[in-house]
Symmetry: C2
Subunit: 349 residues, 2 copies
DNA sequence: CTGAAAGCGCTTACAG
DNA sequence: CTGAAAGCGCTTACAG
C-alpha cells in the first residue's frame, strides 16, 4: 500500500531491478539511454526509493547527522544555518536529529549510527561523561561541539577526541573582569542550577577567580541559581533568579548573566522593580544571540563565534573522514561585545 | 564493524534469532526466564537493534513524525514541547524532522513515510499547493498545522484534509481594529515579502479590511514589505522595513507587525531614530512568543494558542488513526494580549 | 514456548 | 552494458 517499489519500476521499464538501481544511483556503468528511460518512468510514477532498504544494504551513505540536545537553545539554533551550508558545500547530506533534554545522547548516537550508515556525526550540546567510550562504540567519525565532557579527556597534548568549545571559565573571567575595570565591585551572577557540574559551574568559577584577582571578596548571597522548576537558561529563569536578588535587599550594581535568554528575563526584573539599565544595574550576557541586539538598551554580551565553531566542527570531521586519525581540540575565544548595558562607576561614587 | 547484530546475541545466548527478537520486542509468547536471560546479554553487550532492518520488515511502527519547515520560527519552537508531551502521552514515539526553507515538504513527507512505517505525520509550517494529492500519496494519517494551503480545499462543510490553523485575515483585522478603537488613524504595517501569497498576504488583507471598516483610506506608502535579501520574519527584516518607513517622512502613529521577531527589530528602529514606544509609536506584534514579554515596553501582541493548536493537531491525528475517516478543519482564534506598547490617542490630539 | 524459513526493498559483486 | 543472485538485519507466520 505504501507505494511503488523498485520492482514495479523494473517491470514497467522492462528491465531488471539492478538496472533501475543503477539508473537512480547514477552508476557510471549504464547506457545513457536506458538511464534516461528509467528516470523518466521514476519521475512519471513519482517513485521514491525506500531509505531503510538502502541503509540496510549500503556500505556507507553520504549523510552526516547533527545530533542536537537542546533544540530550544537559541545559540545552537543560530548555528544550524552554518552547519547546513558548510556540510552541503562539502557535498554531504545533512540531517538534524534532535533529542530531548532528558534523553541519553550516547544511546541516541549509537541508535542512529546503526540505523543509517553515517559518514560522521557531530554532537551539539549536552553532556558526555565518558566521551571516549561512546565514540569508540559508534565507530564513526565524530566531533563534539559545545559538549560538556569530563576533564580527563581534555589532555592538551594528546586529545583523545575531537572537539570544539570555548573555555567557559576563562570567558566568564573576562566578562567579570570587565565589570571590575569599569569600577563595579558588587557584582551578582545568574548562574547554573545548584549542583550543576558543567557549563554553569565553570562560568561560576571564572566569576570567582575574577573577583579574587581584583581583590573583591566572594559573597554567596550575590549568586542567583537557576530554579529547578523552570526551564534551564530560559527568560523565566533569569527573571526569577534576578527578582530574588533584587528583592533581597543586597546592594550591588551589576549582573553577570550566563545566558542571553536569561539576560532578557533579568532586564524585565530590573524594569519591574522600577530600576534602570545601566544607571541602576549594569548587565552582561553570554552567547551573542541575535535577539539581544534588539533589547533596550542593547545588551553587552560575550559573543561565542557560532559560525567559526560550526565550521571548525565540520573541518575536524572532514579530517577524520579523510583518514587523519589525530584528534584535535579547538578552543575558541568568545568576544565581549560592548553595547549599552554597562556603565562606568567613577571612583568618587 | 558497526557492532553486534541479532545473530551475535542469538549465538551468545544459544537460542535462535526469533527468540532474541521476541525478547527485545516484549512478545508475550516467550518464556519469562528466557526473556530475562536474553535481555541480560543485550544489556551487557550493549546491543542496539538496527532500525533500518526493523522498519523494512515491520508492518507498522509506533512513531509519528512532526515535519517542520522553518525550524527557526520561534512560534513553532514554542509548540515542540506540547507536541512531544502530547504524543508521548498517547503512547507514540515522536520524531522531529526538519527541512530547509527551500526544501519540498511534499517530497520530504513521501520520503520519510517510505523509510519509516509511520503511524502518522503532522506538518508544521510551510506551504502545500495541492495538499490532497500529497496526502493521497503518502497514504498515512496526516494533519496540517499552520500550513498555508490553496483555498479550494478549505470547503467548510466537507473539508478534504485535516488541518488546524487560525484565520490570518480575521486576526490581523482584530489587531488593526484595536488600533483604530484606540484612536489611531495613520497605521503602518510590516507585512510579508512583496508577492507573498500565503500568510503575509492574508494578514495584509485583514489590515486593509479593518482600515476600510473604520473609514481610513489605505495608503500604500504605509506598507513595509520584508526585504528579499534578509531572512523572512527575522528581527533584521523588521528593523530594515521599519527604518525605511521611519525615514520616509510619512506621518503615522502605529506599527502593526506580522511577527513578533520582526517587532523586536521594529522596536530597535524606533529607538535608533530617537523615538519612544508607545509615546511616539505604538506597536502590535503577532505570534505571542515568550521573548516579547521581556521587551521594554512589553509588547502587545496577537497570541496564537500554541498549546491548543498542538493538542488539536494530535487529536485530529488520533481520530484518523482510530479509523475516523472524516476530515476536520479546526480554526482557532488568536487573542490580543494587551501589554504596554500601545497608547490611546485622544480626540483632541 | 522455540526454531527454521520466508521476505521486507534495496545494492553490488559476479557472470555474461 | 545488463541480469540473476546473494544478502544487509531484522520480524513474523508456520510447524512442532
Amino acid at each position: 500500500m505504501a507505494g511503488l517499489t523498485i520492482k514495479d519500476i523494473a517491470r514497467i521499464c522492462d528491465v531488471s531491478i539492478s538496472t533501475v538501481s543503477r539508473a537512480i544511483n547514477n552508476d557510471p556503468g549504464i547506457n545513457a539511454r536506458t538511464r534516461e528511460r528509467v528516470l523518466q518512468v521514476v519521475k512519471e510514477f513519482n517513485y521514491i526509493p525506500n531509505n531503510s532498504a538502502r541503509n540496510l544494504k549500503m556500505a556507507e551513505s553520504n549523510t552526516i547527522v547533527l545530533l542536537v540536545k537542546g533544540i530550544n537553545n537559541p545559540f545552537f539554533q543560530s548555528m544550524f544555518p552554518y552547519f547546513q551550508a558548510g556540510l552541503e558545500k562539502e557535498g554531504y547530506q545533512y540531517l538534524l536529529h534532535t533529542i530531548d533534554e532528558d534523553a541519553d545522547e550516547a544511546y541516541a548516537a549509537e541508535e542512529i549510527t546503526k540505523e543509517k550508515r553515517l559518514k560522521g556525526i557531530i554532537f551539539l550540546g549536552g553532556i558526555l561523561d565518558y566521551p571516549e567510550v561512546v565514540l569508540e562504540n559508534i565507530q564513526v567519525p565524530a566531533v563534539l561541539c559545545s559538549v560538556a565532557v569530563a576533564s580527563p579527556v581534555l589532555d592538551k597534548a594528546e586529545p583523545r577526541i575531537s572537539m570544539v568549545s570555548i573555555d567557559d571559565e576563562a570567558e566568564a573571567y573576562k566578562a567579570v573582569s570587565y565589570f571590575c575595570r569599569k569600577g563595579h565591585r558588587r557584582i551578582a551572577i545568574i548562574a547554573g542550577r545548584k549542583g550543576d557540574y558543567t557549563v554553569g559551574s565553570r562560568r561560576l568559577a571564572g566569576y570567582r577567580r575574577a573577583l579574587q584577582d581584583y581583590g573583591i571578596p566572594f559573597d554567596p548571597e550575590l549568586v542567583g541559581y537557576q530554579k529547578e522548576d523552570l526551564p534551564e537558561y530560559s527568560e523565566a529563569n533569569g527573571y526569577a533568579a534576578a527578582m530574588e536578588l533584587l528583592k533581597s535587599g543586597r546592594r550591588f550594581t551589576a549582573f553577570f548573566v550566563i545566558s542571553d535568554r536569561m539576560a532578557m528575563g533579568v532586564y524585565k526584573a530590573i524594569y519591574d522593580t522600577g530600576k534602570k539599565i545601566p544607571e541602576d544595574y549594569s548587565v552582561i550576557g553570554f552567547d551573542g544571540i541575535e535577539a539581544v541586539r534588539y533589547m533596550y538598551p542593547a545588551l553587552t554580551t560575550m559573543i561565542q563565534p557560532a559560525r567559526k565553531m560550526a565550521q571548525s566542527s565540520i573541518d575536524l570531521l572532514m579530517d577524520q573522514i579523510n583518514g587523519d586519525t589525530r584528534k584535535k581540540h579547538v578552543m575558541y575565544e568568545a568576544e565581549l561585545h560592548e553595547r549599552d548595558s554597562v556603565r562606568t562607576i567613577e571612583d568618587k561614587e
